[in-house]
Symmetry: C2
Subunit: 318 residues, 2 copies
């Protein structure tokens, strides 16, 4: 197997070879801009790695991997419209650089490109790949709808939070793991085990993201610390604080000054021991993810690859 | 072969059997609302008819037909966001009845449902069906982008107008005709002939729609006469008038009173003889569509079915 960086490089090269026409710049320039903005290509890397881990050919897995990456990038484009966000990863969003209609239409086109790329798998796997790919997309939309419903919900349970992040975050990690195994001709048990690995890893990943928003190092996090707190976002920290001391939380969240609000809410999280508790829960989901690998018929080297991937992902600081 | 109404009935029954979950009403209620709003189901009817015309099984064609109809309905949901439209066919749009974000997310989910439905064709045709289905969607997006570019363009040629309507309107008529033939196992020549039939028919259909906006009978047209004129929409009538008497047209379009503006612009169209000229051009595209059927190995009865469909479509008053 290759390294994550090598798989990412293969994905990046493939992305420069997809057929994006030179005409209609109003439609295609935003797509080029979005796909070129980089990132670590974690999702297609997992698909390629899962494919090779079960003896599949890289070339059989490449286009579905590209499809996953295009779909992931599409979700960012439409999310930024729905969240009215002007910046992402330090660059203007499509909606800000162009306009809302451009972001809607270019995003729509990316979905078709994603399905077309996914359909580039070997024909014998095509019915199942399309079925799982569309399930993946629907699961993401479910997560987005649950998240939207949170905005008007008074209390959100940790269980509802898990449902939400299994859609918005885990689906795009779990399905690529399963798709790679599937295209390699792995058994249904192996496909399932890889899905479960990705699902748990995705939960740990999102919980870590919430954690870093409060306890990350501002120098390496890449976003401003406390952004979720300022938006009263229903992260697991806020859900637990709301559960345990709703009155204090409401008081802290009512503070108008941003820096003071962040400090007051963080003090509540601290007093509840959420920093350590979160690290324990995240550690448990990571361990669960890794133990799912025991259910898959992986070589020791392949298993080590995914364990290393999980540990690297969870020890990131941004 | 069945009648159009019978095929539409089959599509309507299938639409009530697609798997729309009971949970997440914020996501699924707008989808149910959109798919229940009816219409003549012209696009899936053509797919089913083309399938039967070439000896295919209705059951093999049904889900791709449903996929085409779901995709068509999705385009209306997102179009209404981009056009900021509150009413469609006398009912509130999703964007108006719910909100913009709901329309974006529900629309996105409909695309996945459409691809999934399209993938319900027999597996041997799946690679080509997915390929053509995604081409169909991209062609629609091309048309929408050309239309968006028209808004800031000073002069638009009739050729550019044709490009636009071949995307926005013809693609969703031509591809269903081709897909039905394809799934029935028709030859590439037959698939191509049916595509060309649909493409020409779509052009005639859209030109007719522009014509009815000016010369339709208000009692049967279903929309207010002159809506395109009020919006300075680049219909073929406006393009020809702009070409032949730009100064007069600009003066008429500058009139503030809506009824006076419609009367003045219509008078220009009248003076240029566009009513008759349009009918001639529409008649020519219809004749071209029908002559494409000669290139297909259709039984006389099947050929008569498509000729009748074309004539009924073009003699509609709404």
């Amino acid at each position: 197997m290759l390294t994550s960086a090598e798989y990412a490089d293969i994905v990046n090269r493939a992305l420069t070879h997809i057929d994006i026409p030179d005409y209609l710049p109003g439609l295609y320039d935003p797509i080029r801009y979005t796909l070129a903005s980089g990132g670590k290509r974690l999702r297609p890397v997992l698909l390629l790695a899962a494919g090779e881990a079960f003896g599949g050919e890289l070339s059989d897995c490449l286009w579905p991997a590209v499809g996953v990456e295009i779909f992931h990038n599409f979700t960012l484009v439409h999310d930024d419209v729905m969240d009215n966000a002007d910046m992402r990863r330090g660059k203007p969003t499509v909606k800000a650089k162009w306009d809302v209609n451009t972001a809607i239409l270019s995003g729509d086109a990316m979905v078709s490109m994603a399905f077309k790329a996914a359909a580039g798998c070997p024909p014998m796997f095509l019915p199942e790949v399309i079925d799982r790919f569309s399930m993946m997309t629907m699961t993401v939309y479910h997560g987005q709808q649950i998240d939207a419903d949170f905005e008007t919900a008074d209390a959100v349970t940790f269980g509802q939070y898990l449902q939400m992040i299994m859609g918005k975050t885990s689906a795009l990690i779990a399905y690529p793991c399963a798709l790679g195994a599937l295209i390699a001709g792995a058994s249904p048990q192996d496909v399932e085990a890889m899905f479960n690995f990705g699902n748990n890893l995705g939960i740990a990943f999102q919980m870590q993201d919430d954690h870093l928003d409060v306890y990350g190092d501002p120098a390496t996090f890449g976003k401003n610390i406390g952004g979720d707190i300022l938006n009263n976002k229903k992260t697991w920290l806020r859900i637990m604080a709301h559960d345990r001391c709703p009155a204090e939380l409401a008081k802290a969240e009512a503070i108008a000054d941003p820096a003071e609000k962040i400090a007051a809410v963080t003090a509540i999280f601290d007093s509840l021991g959420l920093r350590d508790e979160g690290e324990r829960i995240i550690g448990r989901y990571t361990a669960d993810a890794i133990s799912c690998l025991d259910d898959a018929t992986l070589t020791p080297a392949a298993k080590a690859w995914f364990i290393d991937f999980a540990n690297t992902l969870l020890h990131r600081e941004k």
